[in-house]
Subunit: 121 residues, 2 copies
DNA sequence: CTGTATCCAACAGGATACTG
DNA sequence: CAGTATCCTGTTGGATACAG
């Protein structure tokens, strides 16, 4: 994503923010880390149905952009923890605001609103 | 993006926010509209190097998600304006926060930091 | 446990040409 | 003016298999 950030810098600060935080799972990851460090597996379960490959890439991008800190413990079996940096904690507050915004303004479909088609009767 | 929103609803509110606001140019568009309605052409110039196709799609998604309101005036030549809804105005404040966050925490490369390589001496 | 490598389908976004 | 249609390329992200 670093390239995306460089491109965004040519446009406007808001776009830079999107370049850093915009990927799927990225802000969710940050918000899950707001309560404290998590190991890779814990994080994957907490975030939801994200593949290891994608989560890894997003975490690497967040690390490059200074949002998360990755710590490897030289143990067997290996243990790796992720935690927010100062920048990450600030970003987490924005993530919270965005979550609240979506709860207020994005219409939630009813429980049985299965696409356009109702359940077969 | 509506499908993306539906999928995000299964995960968490933060992800819904990203589904709505996460595309390239989207939050920048919202922030440009914060100062008042703009016509399509004005908006395109204001946002930056975005193609008409992409801007159109993002605007349609934002309209579907209740962030912007599109008004067509039956004139020749045609005139179309875009303005923020209440949800859009709230989202714009978050966009501003995200922009400020990026200014504070995302390192700006120096003017002559051309990739990894310095200028030929 | 924490990833990486590979393959693959879907999507995003620019360029260009064209329409009402 | 405000798009749409088409073509094209690069990226995204899951699935699976494998590695240290």
């Amino acid at each position: 994503m670093r390239d995306a950030v460089r491109r965004a810098l040519e446009v406007c600060p808001v776009e830079v923010g999107i370049a850093v935080a915009g990927g799927d799972w990225k802000l969710t990851t940050v918000s899950k880390l707001a309560d404290g460090p998590l190991r890779f597996g814990e994080l994957q379960r907490a975030v939801g149905p994200v593949s290891a490959k994608t989560l890894t890439r997003q975490l690497r991008a967040l690390e490059t952009d200074g949002v998360v800190l990755r710590t490897v413990y030289p143990e067997v079996p290996p243990r790796v923890t992720y935690e927010l940096t100062e920048a990450g904690r600030e970003l987490a507050t924005i993530a919270t605001l965005l979550g609240r915004w979506s709860e207020r303004f994005v219409p939630r479909p009813g429980p049985d609103a299965v696409s356009e088609y109702g359940p077969a009767s």
